[in-house]
Symmetry: C2
Subunit: 405 residues, 2 copies
Amino acid sequence: MISDKMKQAVAGSSVIRAMFEEGKKLSDIYGADNVFDFSIGNPNVEPPLSIKKAIVQILDEESPTMIHGYMNNSGYEDVREAVAQDINRKHNLGLTFKNIVMTVGAAGGMSIICRTILNPEDEVITISPFFGEYRNYVELAGGKLVVVPATPGTFELDLRAIEAAITPKTKAVIVNSPNNPTGAIYREDAIKGLADLLTRKSAELSICIYIISDEPYRELIYENIKIPYMLKHYKNSFIGYSFSKSLSLPGERIGYVAVSNEMDDFEDVMQGLNIATRILGYVNAPSLFQRVVARCLDSEVDVYAYKKNRDLLYGHLKSLGFECAKPEGAFYLWVKALIPDDNAFAEAAKKYNLLIVPGSAFGCPGYFRLAYCTSYTKIEKSLDAWTNLAKEFLSSAWSNKDFLI
Amino acid sequence: MISDKMKQAVAGSSVIRAMFEEGKKLSDIYGADNVFDFSIGNPNVEPPLSIKKAIVQILDEESPTMIHGYMNNSGYEDVREAVAQDINRKHNLGLTFKNIVMTVGAAGGMSIICRTILNPEDEVITISPFFGEYRNYVELAGGKLVVVPATPGTFELDLRAIEAAITPKTKAVIVNSPNNPTGAIYREDAIKGLADLLTRKSAELSICIYIISDEPYRELIYENIKIPYMLKHYKNSFIGYSFSKSLSLPGERIGYVAVSNEMDDFEDVMQGLNIATRILGYVNAPSLFQRVVARCLDSEVDVYAYKKNRDLLYGHLKSLGFECAKPEGAFYLWVKALIPDDNAFAEAAKKYNLLIVPGSAFGCPGYFRLAYCTSYTKIEKSLDAWTNLAKEFLSSAWSNKDFLI
C-alpha cells in the first residue's frame, strides 16, 4: 500500500499534468489537429541548430567515457567555468566555476536550494499566482510555503504585503520573473525595494532571508526591457536557471544554480548544494547536456515566434471581452475566468476542445492560464473555439455588465 | 546559514565522493599516471559504439521538439514499451509500458520508490555491507534504515537475521545483486527463501513488505550464473535498474523502475511513482537518453575487461595475504583491512597513492572497497604499491599470525 501522503497526492495530482494527459486522450478521439492544448509549457519552437551540431561535435571530439561518465556532483569544472564566464559577460560579474552548480533543470535547482537552507518548519514566501511545484520543493525539504498575493492587475511585487508576511521563521522569498503564469517582469526598482526590505528585516530579526530567483524565462522577453540580475542587488540570493525554455530543451533536465561569493557562509552553501545534489538522488546534471549547453551559451530560440503567438491570442481574447494582462515575457497568458469558479470554467472549455489550467493550480482561483508555446496555425485554428466559449458565458455576463470589469 | 541537517552532512560528507576529489588533487601533484584511484565506480570501459550511432540516428530521424521535449513524467510510452518487451524477452514475462517508469538513474528510481511507499518512521531493511546512499534515499522519504549483516565470509542473505529484524513497521527490504561492494550474487534458492519469508511475515503481521531490488550490475557477471528475476518470485517487488554500468552511461542518469501487474494496489503504486518523479524535482528521465537506451537494449559493454581486472587484482591481493571474497559480478573487491581501523588503513594507503574506500562507508568497519573499473595497465602499475602497503602492515602482522585468518 502506498504511503498516506502519496495517497493524497494521487487524489489531488497536478492539474497541469492531468490536463496534458487529457489532451492526449482528446487527440485520440478528435485528431490532434482539432484539440487546442494550452495546458503545458512544452516549447513548440525548435531548439537552435547549434544543439545538434554541438552534440555531434562532442561525440566526435571528446572521450566517450568522459562525456557519459561521472564527474563532481556539482558538474564538470570546465562547463561550470563556461557558465560563469557567460554570466560575467552578460552581467559584469566576477564569477568562476566555484559559484556554479549544474542541476537537473530548474526543478532540481530549486530542490537542492531548499534542501540546503531549510530547517523543519522554516517558512518560504512566494508571490501568487505562482508555479504550483514550489510547494513541493519547499515541503520536500520540510519547509512551509507562505503565499503572498501580487499587486492585483499589474502582478507586481507588493512589498508591504511581503513585509507583513515575514516572521522570525522566514528563510527565503521565491521570485520568478518573467513570471509563470502572469508574464510580468519585475523592474529594477522593485528588486531594489525587495532587497532593501529583506536586508532590513534580516538585521531586525537577526536572521538571514534568502532570495531564490527562479529564472527559466529570463531570455523570453518581448519588449526592450532590462531584467535586473539578482546577484548584483542582493548578496544572499540564489539564481535558479534552466535551459528548458531558452534553448527548448525541457526534457533534457539541464540548468544551474549560481551564487555570489558575497553570500553569507558561501563555502558551506556551495558544499550543501553539492551534497544535496547527491542525496536527493540526482547525483549530477545529465553529463552530455552539460557539455552541450556549455557550447551553446550564445544560442537562442526564436522568441519572435512566441511574440507573434502572444499578439494573436491576446488580441483575440481582449476583443472577446476577456480581462487579461499583456505578458511582457515567458509564454503564458493569465486570464480572468468568465465565471468565478475557474475549475468549472476549465471544464466548460473542454467542450470546445480548449485545454486550459484553472488558476487554483497557481494559488489564485477565478483565473486561468494559457500556455501559448504552440504553433501559430494552431492558435489561428483555435480562435473560433475561443469565440464560442466566450459567447456561451458572455450571453449571461451581458445581463450583469459589471462582471468583466 | 545552511540547515542543521545539512551542516551535519557537510561535516560527514560521502567518503567515496571525497576520495574521488582527493584523487584529482593527488593527480595534480604526482601526475594522473602515478595515482591509483580505486575509489569510485566510474566505468572505464567505453560505452558500446551503438550509443553514438543511436544518438546520431535519433537526431537525424526524429523531431527535435519531441526528442528534447517534455513527455509524461513516467517517460515516453514507446520507450517504456521497448523496455517492457526487452524484459519480457529475457525473463518470459508479459509486461507493457504500464509496468515501467523511466528514472533519473537507479538513484532516482530508489528515491521515487521510497517516496511512494514510506510513511514517516517506516522501516526499510538492507543487508550490510551496503551502498551508503540507501540511507539517504530512505531517510529522504522519512523512513528509517535497518541494517542486517550478510552471512560473514560468503556475504549471502542471512534469512534468520532478516526475520529477526522484521517488525510491524517494516515496509521493504532492499537487495542488491550482483552486490556493491562485495560482488556476491544471490542464487534462486536464496531469493525464493526471502520471498517465502516476506510472504509469511506480511500475512502474519497484516502488512505488505516490499522487495526493492537494486540492479545496476545485473549484466556485469563473470561466471555462468543465472540471476533470478525478482518479479517472477515475489509479486510485491520493485526492480530498480540503471544503464549506468551496463552501457557505461553513469553521468547520463538513465534507468527505470519495473513493477508487476500482480503487485498489491498496482494502479496506485504506478501513479505514485509518476507523481514522485515530478514532486522530487526530477520531472522526467532525460529525454534524449530515454530514446537512446530504447535503441540499445541489446547492446552491452565488454565485461571481459572487468573480468581481466578482477583476476589480476584479486590474484595479487590474495598472494600478498589479503583476505578477500572473489567477486562473481559488479566491479568491486571487498577486502579485509590489515588493521581493525579501516579509516586509518585507507589513510595509510594514500601514502602509496592508493585510493580506497573504508568499509565504514558501507556500514561494515574493518574492510575496504576497491572499484576495479579502471584500466588494466593502471592496475598492473599499482601492483607494487599494493605490495609495499602490505609489507608495511604484514611485518607487524607476522608477529601476530592469527591476524590474517
